[in-house]
Amino acid sequence: MKALLKILEKQKPKFEKGGKLQRFFPLYEATETILFWTNDRTKQGPHVRDGLDLKRFMMMVVVALLPAILFGIYNIGFQHYKAIGQPASGSEMFVFGLIRFMPIVLVSYAVGGFWEVLFSIIRKHEVNEGFLVTGILFPLTLPPTMPLWQVAVSISFGVVIGKEVFGGTGMNILNPALTARAFAFFAYPGKISGDKVWTAIDLAKDKLVDGYSGATPLLAASGTESGKLATDAMAAGGFDWMNSFIGLIPGSIGETSTIAILLGALILIMTGVGSWKIIFSTFAGGYVMASVFNLLAGPESTGMFTLPAYYHLVLGGFAFGAVFMATDPVSAAQSERGKWIYGFLIGVLAILIRTVNPAYPEGMMLSILFMNVFSPLIDYFVVQGNIKRRLSRAH
């Protein structure tokens, strides 16, 4: 570490004002702060600061994602070997998954990182650690067979239009990872929606076992005919609540396993990085809305109405969105009461989109983006409400 510090110190004059590479100072600064603490003292009180700074904040999210990432990698291999009907050991599955997953992540980091650094040099900002999170969140919402050029274009859109045009970290209205996901969804629907979500089939079309459709359980449920039970339709595809919860099902890389995501949620809540209020209220909102639809379900309504509430919460991107996307502090509501409202409405909207719009069973992404736009308004009304209540108490 000492040698590394020496090398950095030696290079410093080049990057400082007047040096040859002064335009690239943000790059130097980023390297230095990622590796070392700065050496300055506090000048103004409060002098004690909480140990949780931005760097740890962002790293904690990546750590919390690890269970979902590892499970996702394993699941890629599991689904592949299941599709071609060939037995394989756990490590073989994992290695297969790793080979599919790593290029996507690398492209996401490299392309997104390029934009991040470019903008920080132009704007003379420092490179922000927040990108480490965006760069890994986005690939986890993709199917493992997403072409790499599409990954590159989508993450570019997410970082540039979703974040940098608004002024960089902290100024963005939308969650950049979700913006990238939304771009991919609308630009390349063939690759990311419908029964193509799981395209392990593409890899081995000639070797498929009979009857393997590759549909996700959510799609199976949404395809339920009127008057029939959604759970029966899922069971026909070989899905039940338990395997959806554990996550050995087709789906986007990081989104399938609710249990791995909940493990991440635990890490986020314990370290105080993710707001438990948002996570809890999102699940509550989803549960309430799904229960309402269950009550409304009749012979004329689509089969999706009958899907029990506790099924909704483990299917599709609901859990992943609630734990990792909705809790993105920049785009979420800030005030205490605002967080409850924000989370609850995400849950309600996600189920609403899933159930009422049969063409598009995955409502989580749109509902979060929608609430991202509304979160400043929620905060505004919460603050106004507080002021009114306090004034009324003063008289």
Binding site: T169, G170, S331, A333
Partner: protein, 442 residues
Amino acid sequence: MLNTFRMGGIHPPQEKHSAQIPLSYAKVPEKLLIPVNQHIGQPCEILVNKRDEVSRGMLLAKATGFISSNVHAPLDGVVEKIMKFPQLSGKIDQCILLKPKQTGQDYARIIAGDLTAANDPENIPAGEIRQRIAESGIVGMGGAGFPTHVKLTPPQEKRIDALIINGAECEPFITSDHRVMLEKSEEIIKGIRLLQRIFGQIPVYIGIEQNKPDASAKMRSAAQPFKNIFISDLQVKYPQGGEKQLIKAILKREVPSKGLPMDVGVIVQNVATVLAIHDAIYFGRPLMERVVTISGNIVEAPGNIVVPVGTAVSYLMDSFGIDPGRVKMVLNGGPMMGKTIFSLESPVTKTTSAILFFDEKAYVSRHENACIRCGNCIESCPMGLPVAQYAESIRSNQINKDDFSGILDCIECGSCAFSCPADRRLAHWLRLGKSMVKREMN
């Protein structure tokens, strides 16, 4: 279930290293630099001239109005000079340079010299208690320095039905109130009895945080004979020692926005102030010294020392064997609300509760990053202010007195900046905002 305030609050590391070290007494220094204004309010009028001989307890500077406070000579000596000098607070103000006669003597012996009981302190009428407090130059010793006699004279229409004695001491490192409660519990209870005489026999609550069980037990046994003095054990949480938080914690009353404790019928006094009131009435002794906690990461033998007002920081460093070469930062007060000091020759005042010394290993200043809107500042604000939104408006110079008057409720505790992961200087932005709003109001 222990009492605490509900909204916001944080848990900084406590670092109360000097909690178990008994009070010690300084040797009388070679010179004292006595600030003329050690209180909030109108400035004092200096009564002495250069080369005047003064004796311990003599008036040096006189209060010029009701909200003002006397300053007395802590030792016998000669006035050498009257000059302007930077104070611990950073303000440059008038000071009286005194050359004491008893240099080198133990200050404990000097205190023992004037412990001659005044006649019949138990039967002084209430009005006279108040007047003697005013004459003795007693100010709020928790840090604000508001003249105590003013606080004890609420307007007629405010009915006071409870008294709170503040022994919370929520700031990290500081233990001066803790030691005072342990070693002077009888005196504090006597002081409380004096206050009860002023307000009639109203209940008195002594708020003590749970991290001082010994002080709590000691005070409880001292308060045993009196049925309307209660000890309220509090959860450890910063800023519990804030007046409004303490009232909320103990009595569950909420002081209205821009209001004072007396608006909810409460008066809050610090334990050290109560001790000073006791000394003034029982011994006829004005406020001339205080307990200062000396601690910090380079202080090998931290302690709580009784020093005469006007003792220089450099003198305390010598008596605690602190190597000036290692000192990189000196704080007046705790690390949450304390300020870095300007000069090591600045004197201790009536409101100095601690002087802390640090080297370069403590308190790394991190880069100020972009706000990620996590809302930690809002969650931790004990006054429930939308800190981040205020700070953004202040930065972009878009604040006005109508929409932002709530900012005046900020108690500047620094909880927001403590909890900010992006290390934004939120407490500073809010301080700036407060002065902007105040200026617009005038």
